[in-house]
């Protein structure tokens, strides 16, 4: 078990730089999730940590030891791949034992270790099977077992759940989280699914185009998004962003209404974006922020999502599930000032 540090890590393929200086500190036993759209460099970062690709510049430290020039096997890491990467010609037991092959452990200890891991992952009776006889979830468990058996300092997960069906994914998500609580090792987990990120992580790293956008706990990135990208990416349905302009201390939304929000800093120009999450934007005839005509209803049970055509474009709001408005109704929508996020329209940075 160890901490992990990335110091201004860059990676180029030829003349194209895909990672532009990633810096991050992960403390011992932390569960960190890298999340972002495809092509954002999250998997590349993971592969750099694993040693499957060479860093162009920057330093990777695992347990206060620079590992840039070490082979993957010397880095004390283990990795779980998206397609499981189980050796199809070996039994489950041999798959798990493969990583122990080079260690100097006596044979009896190796056997004990394999049984222990199989016990934790609840697959003792699967040990003699071939991978082709396993279901998707069982294969993923074998892949995790293969990583666990070596007792590495850092676990690396590269989108391990994206090949599973929705139900199994939820189940494995929980299992990995339990496993982390039990084993307590450092985990770096890459995913493109923000729900996975929110539910599993101690801290989330949101990436886009080879830059880190924000690092924070799930609650931080949800409630205090650092910029419009994070605001849109985290949370489903994503945050509404309404164009607005500054007039003195007040913010004027397109359509005329004014809202009052305390800003930490002033925008570079006059234009700003006001962000509000659908679940904070409710029908409110007393103190409305915006109004428009309902175009689509999406009943979810406890609440109903309403798509509203406004002067600022289509936005999503939430209404009570029992008595929602009807399509074609004009609704007034309001939100508490504490739920409004203001972003600089030019840079996208948060101002609140």
């Amino acid at each position: 078990m160890a901490n992990l540090a990335l110091r201004s890590l860059t990676k180029s393929y030829g003349s194209t730089e895909v990672l532009h200086g990633i810096s991050l500190d992960v403390s011992d036993g932390e569960f960190v999730v890298f999340v972002g759209p495809s092509g954002c460099g999250k998997s590349t970062t993971l592969r750099l940590i694993a040693g499957l690709e060479e860093t162009t510049s920057g330093i990777i430290e695992i347990g206060d030891r620079e590992v840039n020039n070490l082979e993957p096997k010397e880095r004390d890491i283990a990795m779980v791949f998206q397609n499981y990467a189980i050796y199809p010609h070996m039994s489950v037991k041999k798959n798990i034992a493969f990583g122990l092959r080079s260690s100097k452990m006596p044979k009896a200890d190796k056997e004990k270790r394999i049984q222990e891991v199989a016990g934790i992952l609840d697959m003792t009776e699967l040990l003699d099977r071939k991978p082709s006889q396993l279901s998707g979830g069982q294969r993923q468990r074998v892949a995790i077992g293969r990583a666990m058996v070596r007792d590495p300092a850092v676990f690396l997960f590269d989108e391990p759940l994206s090949n599973l069906d929705a139900q199994l994914r939820t189940q494995m998500r929980l299992e990995i989280k339990r496993l982390h609580q039990r084993v307590g090792s450092t985990i770096i987990f890459v995913t493109h699914d923000q729900v996975e990120a929110m539910t599993m992580a101690d801290r989330i790293v949101i990436m886009k185009d080879g830059h880190i956008q924000q690092v924070g706990t799930p609650s931080e990135v949800y409630h205090k998004p650092a910029n419009t990208f994070v605001a849109r990416f985290i949370g489903a349905p994503s945050m509404n962003l309404l164009p607005a302009s500054m007039s003195g201390e007040m913010i004027c939304l397109t359509g005329g209404r004014q809202v009052e929000v305390t800003l930490k800093e002033l925008p570079s120009g006059k234009d700003v974006l006001v962000g509000v999450r659908p679940d904070d934007l409710l029908p409110d005839d007393v103190n409305p922020v915006i109004s428009g005509k309902v175009t689509v209803l999406e009943p979810l049970g406890p609440e109903t999502l309403i798509y509203v055509e406004t002067a600022s474009g289509e936005i999503i709001a939430e209404a009570d599930g029992r008595s929602p408005p009807r399509v074609g109704d004009t609704v007034n929508l309001g939100a508490g000032p504490e739920h409004l996020h203001v972003f600089d329209a030019k840079t996208g940075e948060a101002l609140t």
Binding site: L52, I77, M79, F81, Y87
Partner: protein
């Protein structure tokens, strides 16, 4: 008639005949035999559709029957008759006569030698080339060059290699590459390194590898923690152990042979007349041709291995050799088996190379050439057909296994 014109006419008649057959046979079926009208229109359409596949298959079935199935039975019949006794039925007398001939056993022994060496060497070289050219920029060019012999006919390749093995009198310039190289050795230190030390190392390495394989086969019997497997696997293991033991003893014998032999330096050699070794000079031709085939198939198989399993092995701490032998090779094993058996079939039927280069002289006879000798030179249909049946008996099980594996591979 002008040959070009004749060719054109043949093409038109041939292609037109095929089209005509399919068009008119379908027409007759649909209009006259099962017409799609009247009270039985629906039934007739279904019947016509049941017949139609056979209509399309008929030309192929007929041709295969005439040129493949019928000859098998005719050969079997001929192998039990004697031409000199007015085609009288003689039972297994021809086989008896053949088994009594030393030339037949020589052909049999040589065929078995070919059977071990050529598929093994071609597959091994093909795998080696496929792996080595996988990641380099000029790999594709190298592969094309190695694949090119596939385009040369066996006879053409034999002519090329005959020139390589060619011999001229000592006072003339050697046009054979092998002799030209041979004459560079005159017994100095270089000669000792190349012709004594290097072969010693190679034979030693071969012996060690075979011994190791034998050890792997024998291990389950002597250690407790591995099971030797079912009865069939035990039988295969015992045969494997026996072959390995024989090969190890042979290699040890060869080691002494290499040290003891006095090499005739400075004299041009007639390579194809050196008994036993000339077999290998002939095999080189087929290996040269078949390596390209093995390489292409195995290269595609190597590309098909999931990259992630290799990366997982890298992270698990496997070195390149372990990745190749423990991760890559086992995953493409079914393809290796198909390649191996396919080459085995070619080897069992090998004829052209031996026919063109030595014609079975100097102890290089093989079964196919033996058959040709008997059938068309000695005009002895009986023994010729008997040897053909022997070849078929050897080929059939491998063919069945090959098709079985290839089908499994496709699924």
């Amino acid at each position: 008639m002008n040959p070009a014109l004749l060719g054109l006419v043949t093409i038109i008649v041939g292609v037109g005949g095929c089209l005509g057959y399919f068009y008119f046979s379908n027409l007759i079926l649909d209009k006259f035999i099962f017409p799609a009208k009247g009270p039985n229109a629906g039934v007739n359409i279904n019947r016509a559709n049941q017949v139609r596949p056979w209509l399309f298959l008929f030309p192929a079935i007929f041709a295969l029957g005439l040129y493949l199935a019928y000859p098998v039975f005719e050969t079997l019949r001929l192998s039990m008759t004697d031409r000199t006794q007015n085609d009288a039925f003689v039972g297994l007398a021809n086989y008896q006569q053949m088994f009594g001939e030393s030339k037949f056993w020589e052909a049999m022994r040589n065929n078995m030698l070919w059977l071990i060496v050529v598929p093994a060497a071609s597959t091994a070289f093909g795998l080696l080339v496929a792996q080595l050219t996988d990641r380099i920029s000029w790999g594709a060019a190298a592969k094309s060059l190695i694949f090119m012999p596939m385009a040369i006919s066996f006879v053409g390749a034999s002519v090329i290699f005959k020139l390589i093995y060619d011999t001229r009198p000592e006072d003339q310039n050697q046009i054979g590459v092998l002799n030209a190289i041979w004459l560079q050795f005159e017994g100095g230190a270089g000669s000792v390194i190349f012709l004594k030390v290097l072969p010693l190392i190679m034979v030693l390495a071969f012996g060690v590898i075979v011994a190791y394989v034998g050890y792997l086969l024998i291990k389950p019997f002597i250690t407790a923690d591995e099971k030797p497997g079912g009865l069939g696997i035990i039988a295969v293991r015992i045969i494997g152990i026996a072959v390995a033991a024989w090969l190890v003893i042979t290699s040890i014998g060869s080691l002494f042979g290499i040290v003891a032999t006095d090499l005739p330096y400075g004299e041009p050699q007639t390579w194809l007349t050196i008994p036993f070794y000339n077999n290998f000079f002939l095999m080189v031709v087929l290996i040269w041709i078949q390596t390209g085939f093995a390489m292409v198939i195995l290269s595609a198989a190597l590309r098909g291995i999931p990259e992630e399993t290799i990366e997982a092995a890298v992270i698990d701490g496997a070195n390149p050799f372990q990745i190749f032998f423990k991760i890559k090779v086992p995953q493409i094993m079914p393809t290796i088996v198909v390649v191996w058996t396919t080459i085995t079939l070619t080897v069992l039927k090998v004829f052209d190379i031996v026919f063109a280069m030595t014609n079975g002289q100097w102890e290089t006879q093989v079964l196919a050439n033996y058959m040709f000798d008997k059938l068309f030179r000695a005009n002895d249909w009986g023994v010729g057909s008997a040897s053909a049946i022997i070849i078929m008996l050897l080929v059939s099980p491998i063919l069945v296994w090959n098709v079985y594996n290839a089908r499994k591979e496709m699924r």
